[in-house]
Each structure stands twice: as structure tokens, then as C-alpha cells.
């Protein structure tokens, strides 16, 4: 059934308020169950054997001594997961990443797994598996990997997207290009040009909950999977494909999820757990250790980016180019392409060209991390924007306003923009008190803007009106950060009933239709759309029941404030019927009352933000303190403002960690040196000040309430905002992220050496 998602201006009674979330009490009492909090009778414990080499051929695996160990119920290798990919490269890559088939491509790549009666037996079994490796030369650096003499990961990869097609294999999987106009002519017209190269190191989403699942393969070839995931329907599809199961035979229940940020949109160990359970004939619990999460799940790309921007004296940009090299791990994907698409997305440019190179390296498979690929590109571009503004003597915010994209601008990645919010966020920044407070020595202020796409996607909801007039709403979009509260507000708004009378739950794959995963900032956007649709369908049913009760035409019934009302003078003596009254007799006049919605929420639009940051750098230690941080972002309509603020603050905090401290450190042997929270240093409570947020509400024309996705954009500006601030504070342009103390000291030291 079609649903009109066009924005309608209206006054809200529930939406926009800040009630306590429905799943809150469980989470503050320890009752909520996450991936590792579930157990099945007779379950076995699984452990995974991982490569200690960055790059090696697997010559031989002998699992017999492990299989002989008492208490071991199954041992598997790639041989137990036959290749069912049928030419689907992405599926094959996932399969190979789950258990290496011929080569290991990174330190931590899985080669075998065991299921045993307890953890101790499983650990002992791992030690008994003999693997003979032929160690190969490795390469972990993105710029080293593109050199002609670099060790090649796949002999079958020949760079796509360049003419003529190369004859020798390389680590550059593909080249992508975006842009329009004539950049050479544009640079010729420029009065000032800045040109600089930037580096960003690899980071991890850093969710506090490691990947965990319980898999149970039954004797009748059905299976169950309890797992922490951002998308249980997606996991079901992937696992079914990899194990050769019908999708309907695999039931996936998503636990509460302890953070994902994109890292739990791909399968890692879940197919392994299912394969172990299939072989052992018992349920298998597989929980990754923190070290395994760092070594063998999906961090971001490391990048190397060259940016050149030219402008006239009046501040008009005449040309802009970016060349972006993004690492993808052992399997090609779209990361460089996304970087090339988003680089100049904030600006209205006559001449622009971006080129992206997807580079294979001996590191774990790159996965999405909150607005994937955009933060690094924004770092490079927004740093150069600042440098150019300074060069022509213009205020950095005014410079951006002058060149900002707006409705009708041809974006640098191709399409023309509809109504967008970058102008308003910049103007709000310009007049924000943060921009005008005084700074002292060793302190600096920086700002930056950022952009990200938002998605809609396939979404289902079931809204059931209980006999007492309360409502149960079942959704299929995993709740990563409090969306159940927002969806309850939306249902309450549509139906005109109190928020407390709505209970929202996340259903499993057997009890609801397909839902896309919670990524692309789509959780609240698309589920709220489906909730509105389902609620309106339920209202239609309730009006029909009222009409039946009153014996009047249904056209004479309207729904207002939680009641069916008869309109028209001739029905003046009919008192309105409440939802409770209608529900109470539902069994007698047609059966249970429900509204369903299965739709594709599309047209989500794009989301812009501007951040302002003050830092203080200690010239003796190189340590940077964040003094003040402000996030200004357009939310369209903030359904539950607390959780919108939470997304802004959380994204900013991750960006701060990325800018100042977080990086994957590799040794000369290609092994990850810091797979733990001690040396992979994310921000702690004492590192940060309060984070101020300003929610702009410029309605999204493609959502009934004007809602825009908000979850990802807030991680895009921080790298540049902080780099711009630090560069001011130390008087040197910082071009290598993270700006950890050694890098700042080197910049300061270099400066004094002249």
C-alpha cells in the first residue's frame, strides 16, 4: 500500500519531548541481555585460531590432535565451509575472511576454530592444531602498497577504472573519479592556491561490547542465532548464503547491542559459530576477546590524501582537486570511492575533480565506521580550506559561507542538490557565542563542516492495539541508541494517546518482515515513517469499528486526540469513543486491531554539520586538551531531543579520539602492536569537557514530520575542526592524524630548527 511521506507542518504534543526510554530500567539494573548474556542448554564454547603472520600461504593444517582431545566436539577449517558464492565476489571475500582458504592476509586472520565443553579445553585444543605457513613479504602502509615493488596480495587483481587495463596485478583494486568543469583552467584563474598532503591512521569503532553469538544448528536443518548486530535480517541473509541454508530456516534474534557504529553490519565469527554447531550437533557460544576485536573485526581505512584548492582574492573558489588513497584490507570495497564522493560535497564549485584509489594492504578487512570514509576526506579538505582562508585574509566561516552548496548546486559527486542545510549551520556557527569567547596562550580555535548521506531502506512495523487500549509496536530496526523511545513518541503522537501507553520492542527475523540494518543514520528516520504509516492504518481500522458501533457511514468518522469522533450535526449526540472503548469490544466486532506497514523509506536526503573547537596544547609534552566543543547540526525534526543530542555528542567524542590519539600501530613484522584499550587510547571521561549541541530543525520534505537522519554526520567535522584548532595553537599546520603528543612535539621541534 502506498504511503504519502510528504512533510506536513503541524504542532506536536508528544514528539519533541524527553521521556524516559522504555528499555531504560532493564539497562540500569543489569537485566538487559547483550550478545554474551545468553546461554543455551548443552552449549559448547568456541575459540578461533588466528594467523600470527601478516601474509602467508597456508601449506598444511592438521587438526587431528585437537580432535582427539577429550571434551572437543568439533574442529573446523575452511574445508567445512564450502564455497557457495557462485561468482559473488563480496560473498566470497566474506567467506575467506571468516576462515582463510588458501592464504592468510593479516595478523589475526582466522584459520581454524574449535568447539569444546569449556573454555580451558577449547584453548588447549587450539594449541594442538598444527598449521604450516609459508611466510610471504607483507605490506601494511597505504603508500607503500601502491609502489611497483610492493608485495601483491592477490595475483588476480588488476586495477579497474584505468585505461588501458594494466597487465600486471597490483594492490590498487580500483580507481574512481568524480567532478565536473576544467580544473586546470580554474587554477589558472586563482589568485591564491594551497596544496598539501595529509595522512590519517587506521582507527576502530571501539564499541565496548565484543562480538558475541550463540548458534544452534538443529537436527532438522533449521538453525537459530542469538547475536549482537546492527542488522539481524542482513546477518540472516549472509549466514544463510554462506552455510547453504534457506533464509526461512534460520531465525536470528538480535540481542541488545553494546555499540556498533558500522562494525556490526558485517558478519565476522557468526558463520563460524553456525558451522561449528552444525558439525558438533550442539549449540555453540562464540565471544571475541578484545584483542580479537582489534585484530580481526573491521577497522576503518588508513588514508593518504593530496588536496589542492585555488581561490580568487574575493574568496571565490575557482578550482579544487583531491587524490585519495584509502586502504581496504585484503578485500576491495567502496571506501576510496566514498571518500572521493564526499570530499567537496559541502561546496558549490565550478571546477572540481576527485580521484580515489582503493588499496589492498595486509591489515584486517575494512568495515564501515560512522559516515565511512567521510571524516578523513573532510580532514584534508577542511584543513586546506582553513589554510586558504588564512592565505587570502578571510575569516574561515565567511569563506565557507561564500562557497557553500545550496539548493540547485551541482554537487562534486554528480547530482544537483535539493534543499540542504549547510548554510544555516554555518550561519549559526558564525553567531554562536563559542566563536567570540577569548583565547589565551597556547590555545587555538578551529571550525569545520561535514556532510553525510542518510538512507531510508526496507522497513516493517507491526502496531497492535491491545484490548485495554494500550499499544505494542514491533519494529525490525535494531535500537542502537534509544530509538525505541522516539518510536513510542511517534506512535503516541499519531494515535493521540499517552507515551506511557506505547511499548516498543525489536522483533526477530521470524516474527517480522525484512528490515534493513541500522546504519546510514536510518534507524529513527525510516522506522518512524513506518510507524506513522502503521498507526494511520490502525486508525483506519478503529474508525471503521466506531462507524460499525454507531451504525453511521465511515466517512463521517474522524480520529482526534485518541478518540473516534462522529462529525456532522446529525451525529451531535454521539459521544466520542476512546481507543480503550473501541479496543475493549474489538473481539466482538471484527477481531484484534492492528496496523502494519511494510515500506521502503527513501528520499532521506543529506545531513550537514558545523563544529567549533577550542584546544590548549602543552608545548612541553605535546598533549592537547579540549577546552570547549560545540556541535551544530540539522536534525529536520528532533523526535526525542535527548537522543539527538546524544548522537551529536557521541560522534564528536569519537572524532576527538580519532584526531588526538587513536591509531593502529604495526611493527616491522606486520603485527598489530596495540590490540587493547590501554594502548589504543579512546577518550575517557577526564579527557573531555561538556559538549554543547545546537539542534537546527529545517524540515526534510520527504518525511511526514520532517525528520532527518542524524547519527553519522557528527563524526565528520571533528578531525578537521581539531586539526585547525591545534594548528592555530602551535603555529604549525598539522597534516597527520592522530595529532598525538610525539607528532605535535615533532612539529614544534621542526619549527624551532627552522
Amino acid at each position: 500500500m502506498s504511503f504519502d511521506a510528504t512533510y506536513q507542518d503541524q504542532k506536536f504534543s508528544a514528539v519533541g519531548s524527553r521521556p524516559v526510554r522504555p528499555d531504560g530500567v532493564d539497562k540500569v539494573t543489569g537485566r538487559a541481555r547483550y550478545g554474551a548474556d545468553f546461554n543455551m542448554p548443552g552449549q559448547l564454547v568456541a575459540r578461533v585460531l588466528r594467523s600470527p603472520h601478516a601474509h602467508a600461504r597456508i601449506v598444511r593444517i592438521d587438526t587431528s590432535r585437537a580432535e582427539d582431545l577429550q571434551g572437543v566436539k568439533a574442529v573446523i577449517t575452511a574445508a567445512d565451509l564450502p564455497d557457495l558464492s557462485e561468482g559473488d565476489q563480496s560473498l566470497y571475500d566474506t567467506l575467506d575472511n571468516c576462515l582463510a582458504r588458501t592464504k592468510v592476509f593479516y595478523d589475526g586472520h582466522a584459520v581454524a576454530a574449535v568447539a569444546a565443553i569449556d573454555a580451558k579445553t577449547a584453548r588447549t585444543a587450539l594449541k594442538r592444531i598444527e598449521v604450516e605457513y609459508e611466510v610471504l613479504p607483507h605490506v601494511v602502509d597505504v603508500d607503500e602498497a601502491i609502489k611497483a615493488d610492493a608485495p601483491v596480495l592477490h595475483e588476480t587483481i588488476f586495477t579497474e577504472g584505468i585505461e588501458p587495463k594494466p597487465e600486471t596485478p597490483s594492490n590498487v583494486a580500483n580507481r574512481s573519479e568524480f567532478g565536473h568543469g576544467d580544473v586546470d583552467a580554474g587554477f589558472a584563474e586563482a589568485d591564491s592556491i594551497v596544496e598539501r598532503s595529509y595522512l590519517t591512521e587506521q582507527t576502530h569503532q571501539g564499541y565496548i561490547e565484543p562480538h558475541a553469538c550463540v548458534a544452534s544448528f538443529n537436527a532438522d536443518d533449521t538453525a537459530e542465532l542469538w547475536v549482537c548486530t546492527q542488522g539481524h535480517f542482513v546477518y540472516r541473509q549472509k549466514c544463510a548464503n554462506l552455510l547453504g541454508l534457506d533464509v526461512s530456516k534460520l531465525r536470528v534474534t538480535s540481542s541488545e547491542i553494546g555499540g556498533g557504529f558500522g562494525g556490526k553490519t558485517h558478519v565476522w565469527t557468526e558463520p563460524v559459530a553456525l558451522a561449528l554447531s552444525r558439525k558438533a550437533g550442539r549449540p555453540v557460544k562464540l565471544v571475541m576477546s578484545r584483542e580479537e576485536v582489534f585484530r580481526a573485526s573491521g577497522p576503518t581505512s588508513a588514508t593518504s590524501i593530496d588536496v589542492k584548492i585555488g581561490a580568487r582574492g574575493d574568496g571565490t573558489i575557482t578550482a579544487a582537486t583531491a587524490t585519495l588513497r584509502y586502504s581496504c584490507g585484503p578485500y576491495a570495497d567502496i571506501w576510496a570511492e566514498l571518500g572521493a564522493m564526499t570530499s567537496f560535497a559541502c561546496y558549490d564549485l565550478e571546477n572540481v575533480k576527485t580521484v580515489g584509489y582503493e588499496v589492498l594492504v595486509n591489515r584486517p578487512k575494512t568495515a564501515a565506521y560512522r559516515a565511512p570514509s567521510a571524516p578523513m576526506a573532510a580532514f584534508a579538505v577542511e584543513s586546506s580550506m582553513d589554510e586558504l582562508a588564512h592565505k587570502i585574509g578571510m575569516d574561515p566561516v565567511a569563506f565557507r559561507i561564500k562557497n557553500a552548496a545550496s539548493e540547485g548546486t551541482r554537487s562534486s559527486y554528480g547530482p544537483v542538490y535539493g534543499p540542504i542545510g549547510i548554510g544555516p549551520t554555518l550561519e549559526a556557527a558564525q553567531s554562536h557565542p563559542h566563536m567570540h569567547s577569548p583565547l589565551e596562550t597556547n590555545q587555538g580555535r578551529g571550525m569545520a563542516c561535514g556532510f553525510w548521506f542518510n538512507f531510508g531502506g526496507q522497513t516493517c512495523t507491526d502496531l497492535n492495539v491491545n484490548e485495554d487500549g494500550t499499544v505494542t509496536l514491533a519494529v525490525g530496526t535494531v535500537d542502537v541508541g534509544g530509538s525505541r523511545a522516539s518510536l513510542s513518541l511517534v506512535a503516541a503522537e499519531e494515535l493521540g494517546i499517552p507515551y506511557e501507553n506505547v511499548k516498543t520492542v525489536v522483533a526477530d527475523t521470524a516474527t517480522l518482515g525484512y528490515n534493513d540494518m541500522t546504519d546510514g543514520s536510518r534507524g529513527t528516520f525510516s522506522s518512524s515513517m513506518a510507524t506513522i504509516s502503521a498507526a494511520r492504518n490502525a486508525i483506519t481500522v478503529m474508525c471503521e469499528r466506531a462507524a460499525l458501533t454507531w451504525d453511521i457511514p465511515v466517512e463521517d468518522v474522524v480520529w482526534e486526540d485518541g478518540h473516534a469522533k462522529a462529525v456532522g450535526v446529525k451525529h451531535g449526540n454521539l459521544a466520542p469513543l476512546s481507543i480503550q472503548e473501541i479496543a475493549a469490544v474489538s473481539g466482538k466486532n471484527g477481531g484484534p486491531i492492528a496496523g502494519h506497514s511494510e515500506l521502503v523509506a527513501d528520499g532521506a536526503g543529506v545531513s550537514f554539520a558545523t563544529h567549533i573547537c577550542d584546544v590548549e596544547v602543552d608545548p612541553e609534552t605535546g598533549a592537547t586538551k579540549i577546552l570547549r566543543y560545540t556541535v551544530i547540526q540539522d536534525a529536520g525534526k528532533a523526535v526525542h531531543p535527548d537522543y539527538v543530542e546524544g548522537q551529536y555528542q557521541g560522534g564528536a567524542a569519537q572524532g576527538i579520539g580519532w584526531a588526538l590519539n587513536e591509531e593502529y600501530v604495526y611493527g616491522a613484522d606486520g603485527r598489530l602492536q596495540n590490540p587493547g584499550f590501554l594502548d589504543y587510547r579512546i577518550p575517557v571521561c577526564s579527557d573531555l569537557p561538556m559538549i554543547d549541541t545546537q539542534i537546527l530543525e529545517i524540515p526534510n520534505p520527504n518525511h511526514p514530520y520532517g525528520v532527518r537522519g542524524v547519527g553519522e554526520t557528527s563524526i565528520v567535522p571533528p578531525l578537521a575542526a581539531i586539526a585547525n584548532a591545534v594548528s592555530k595553537a602551535v603555529g604549525v599546520r598539522m597534516s597527520h592524524i592522530p595529532m598525538s603528543p610525539p607528532r605535535i612535539l615533532a612539529a614544534l621541534g621542526g619549527e624551532t630548527e627552522g
Binding site: A371, P372, G414, P415, F455, G456, D602
Partner: protein
């Protein structure tokens, strides 16, 4: 008749054409017609592609109508995090 612009990665599969005129009333028909003309594009349409119509990204709604004055772009289906 709608003018469709392809992203760089698709151009080689469409005889190196970047902008193609297609007679189509919705996205589904657009993919169908393009696949008939350039069979090499078919596998991309299955899961790789999103359609931008007048600046708005459509990833799933293949019933979305197209009119003559729409600006239609095919871009890579983007992943989020």
C-alpha cells in the same frame, strides 16, 4: 525520455557513454531498458546501484516515477555505519 548520467565505474559497461537517453516511466523500467541495451550493466543493477533523482537518493524504491525534467544520476550504493 529521461537523460541518465552514470558514475564513472559504470561507464565502461555502457560503451563508454556517460549520459544516456532512456524511455522509462519509473526506476524499474529504467534498469530494464538499460540492461537490454547494455547487458554488462545488469549485475550492477542487482545490488550495487542507487538512483539520485533531483538530488534525492533512492536506494530501494524501484517504483519511484521518473519524468522528463528529472535529473537522474546513477551512483554507487553507499554503505553507512
Amino acid at each position: 525520455m529521461v537523460a541518465v548520467t552514470l558514475w564513472g565505474g559504470l561507464v565502461p559497461f555502457a560503451d563508454n557513454q556517460k549520459t544516456i537517453d532512456v524511455e522509462a516511466s519509473d526506476i524499474r523500467e529504467l534498469f530494464q531498458k538499460l540492461s537490454e541495451q547494455y547487458p554488462g550493466l545488469r549485475r550492477h543493477f542487482k545490488s550495487d546501484v542507487a538512483v539520485v533523482i533531483d538530488g534525492v537518493v533512492y536506494r530501494d524504491n524501484w517504483s519511484k516515477e521518473l519524468t522528463e525534467d528529472n535529473e537522474v544520476f546513477l551512483i554507487r550504493r553507499i554503505a553507512g555505519g
